[in-house]
């Protein structure tokens, strides 16, 4: 939204220098390092990154959903409305979950209990989190379903998850996440399992919700197309770190990190279809494979795949720093691009 406002008001969600370590059979593993991001009220943000880059881990850390036997420790700060989630305790945390922040699950197919009617599941959450009666909750649930652009809310309410198509199920999950009127919805790859046509509808729905209820949305995706369509600001993740963040325009049209640049170049160029004069350009290709967190070197994590890396990159650990001349919010984690070129 408004870039300046961030400076003055308290942010809705503010993650600062979050690092998360988990236990694995081969020892402890830092899956998130130095992750910082903020979401303001009513804002739509996005996190992009390839598989395994730590997107889901970020969300699970924010909501503290990592199972005890997996989590080793968190460090850093996670503030919601000024309250530090890492210190408020499990009971308060439970109120935040679903109350202030709710999740749209990555996989709507498996995130609904197959044994209960979907309506009952929405109502269950309402009854648990608010003081409403059953009939009130049902009414509200039907209302929500209608808002989701569902024609026959009553029928959907009475359906079992498996009776619904992927798109409908995703809508139900979104309705569920709205059940307690949260301030922030975090959606983990809400559309990657859907048909492209349905994906578009769901994205539009998010936008509608954002406008209508003023709910802030943090969307997780690996698709820059989605980011471009919906987000106001975006953070790009690679190997557990945010490598670049800024407004969507800044990041997409003026990417500073070689990784972001490469990713964007990987998107096929369709000019040849519209422009007779150009032929198909070969796709840009990042060399190598996504990084395995188990084998980290001391320098930049992207160094082995980077097309501009030099010796310095191997040695110095880059920090996330503001891109100087351009934007106030545009930051990048690259020694070569600090302060821009």
């Amino acid at each position: 939204m408004n870039v300046q406002s961030a400076l003055h008001t308290k942010s809705l969600l503010k993650v600062e220098n979050l690092s998360t370590r988990i236990k694995t059979t081969e020892g402890s593993l830092t899956v998130l390092e130095d992750v910082s991001l903020t979401i303001e009220k009513g804002e739509i943000g996005a996190i992009v990154g390839e598989s395994g880059s730590g997107k889901s881990m970020t969300i699970n850390s924010i909501l503290q959903l990592l199972p005890k036997n997996l989590l080793e420790n968190y460090s850093g700060n996670i503030e919601v409305d000024g309250e530090n989630l890492l210190t408020i305790g499990e009971k308060k945390m439970q109120e935040i979950r679903g109350g202030k922040i709710s999740l749209v699950a990555q996989n709507a197919m498996t995130s609904l209990d197959p044994s209960y009617r979907v309506g009952k599941q929405i109502v269950e959450i309402m009854l648990d989190k608010t003081n409403s009666t059953k009939t009130q909750a049902k009414e509200k649930a039907l209302d929500l379903l209608e808002h989701m652009g569902i024609d026959e809310p009553e029928r959907i309410f009475q359906s079992f998850p498996h009776q619904l198509s992927g798109g409908l199920r995703q809508r139900v999950v979104i309705a569920m996440s709205l059940a307690c009127e949260p301030d922030l919805i975090i959606a983990d790859e809400p559309t990657s399992a859907l048909d492209p046509t349905v994906q578009l509808q769901v994205l539009d729905l998010f936008q509608k919700i954002n406008r209508k209820f003023g709910t802030a949305i943090l969307i997780i995706t690996h698709d820059f197309g989605v980011v471009a369509r919906i987000a106001e600001k975006v953070a790009v993740m690679y190997a557990g770190q945010i490598v670049e963040k800024g407004t969507t325009e800044e990041v997409i049209f003026n990417p500073k990190h070689p990784y972001t640049q490469s990713l964007l170049k990987c998107i096929p160029n369709l000019d040849w279809i519209f422009d007779e004069s150009v032929g198909k350009k070969p796709l840009f290709q990042i060399k190598g494979e996504p990084l395995n967190l188990m084998h980290l070197s001391e320098g930049c994590r992207f160094v082995n795949r980077c097309h501009v890396a030099n010796d310095m990159c191997h040695k110095t650990k880059p920090l996330l720093k503001k891109v100087k001349p351009t934007g106030l919010n545009h930051s990048v984690r690259c020694v070569l691009n600090e302060g821009g070129k």
């Binding site: 439970q94 699950a105 995130s111 269950e124 648990d128 079992f160």
Partner: protein, 320 residues
């Protein structure tokens, strides 16, 4: 739905048909002459011949099968070689007694097994989990007759808390409480192995479901773990637990044979034991058939129950 139930019921017919063939063939395969077995070793060969004709043993096999089936359908299970009585008279009261034992064992192993498995799953990796699963594995590795003997030794001989045998105290039968008193040891002996199996399965099922996305998803809404466990985990563990419990009925009926013998429980298993030791083939045949039919019916009920419990299955059936 009705059509499905009907078709499911009908689909047991070929199985039952196969079961009768297997059971019929069993007795065909015995070496020796059934007529002679009936009359005993010192009967005249004339008497044996008469009986052979009477029993239709000179007919071709398929005719014999036909006769046998048509008698079965009339409720005639045949005639015992050694007891010289119509088998139905021998087995029907015993069947009832066996059901008492089976149901009691089932109740024990399902309730205890589920509780044990559930706690173990929720406290996965804890001492309780390790101990109870270790014990469960041991429980599943013991012969039922041995468990029965050991229980008997401990609770009926050493401590005399429970009676050793029978269903009632003959001197002064004390109704239901008396029955219960007599029931506990054989029921536990029969239930042990299944208890272990159910506990293990419940544990792995619950662990599986605890890992499901929807369980974690509900947690992300701040619902308490205990509530999720109660509402979602339990509900979704139900079908596999019912499934395994249904299958355990077979094991329990098999195990009941041993505890019935050890505890002198007047059930069908005891009759089978006597029949086996005296080579009373028609009774073996009838007993096995009766149990198989019961088992088929139990499986049918379990299937239908599972359909009832699984909305997805119901729908795929409706779609047919």
């Amino acid at each position: 739905m009705f059509r499905y139930i009907l078709s499911r019921i009908l689909s047991t017919i070929p199985v039952l048909f196969g079961v009768t063939i297997v059971v019929f063939l069993l007795i065909r395969l015995i070496p020796g002459d059934p007529a002679k077995s009936i009359l005993g070793g010192d009967a005249t060969s004339e008497a044996v011949d008469v009986l052979r004709i009477e029993m239709g043993l000179n007919e071709p096999v398929y005719v014999q099968y036909g006769t046998w089936i048509s008698q079965l359908l009339k409720g005639d299970l045949g005639f015992s070689y050694t007891l010289h009585t119509p088998i139905i008279q021998e087995l029907s009261p015993r069947f009832f007694n066996s059901m008492i034992l089976t149901i009691a064992s089932l109740l024990i192993c399902v309730t205890l097994g589920v509780i044990l498995g559930l706690i173990s799953a929720l406290k996965k990796g804890s001492v309780f989990d390790k101990v109870s699963m270790g014990v469960a594995l041991i429980g599943a590795s013991m012969p039922v007759f041995w468990i029965a003997l050991m229980l008997m030794w401990l609770f009926a001989i050493k401590t005399q808390i429970f009676p050793v045998s029978g269903m009632y105290n003959m001197r002064n039968p004390g109704g239901f409480m008396d029955l219960l008193h007599h029931l506990i040891l054989p029921a536990f002996a029969t239930a042990t192995v299944s208890l272990a199996v159910i506990a293990r399965l419940t544990r792995s099922t619950v662990i599986d479901i605890l890992r499901k996305d929807y369980v974690n998803y509900f947690h992300s809404f701040g619902l308490s773990r205990s509530k999720i466990n109660l509402v979602h985990v339990m509900r979704n563990s139900l079908p596999p637990i019912i499934n395994i419990s249904g299958l355990q009925v077979g094991y329990i009926i098999g195990g009941a044979l041993f505890s019935e013998v050890v505890f002198n429980w007047p059930g069908i298993g005891q009759a089978l034991y006597v029949a086996v030791t005296s080579n009373d083939y028609p009774t073996i045949q009838a007993g096995i058939l009766l149990i198989a039919i019961t088992f088929v019916v139990v499986n049918l009920v379990v299937d239908l129950l599972n359909v009832y419990l699984s909305p997805k299955l119901q729908d795929s059936i409706k779609a047919e």
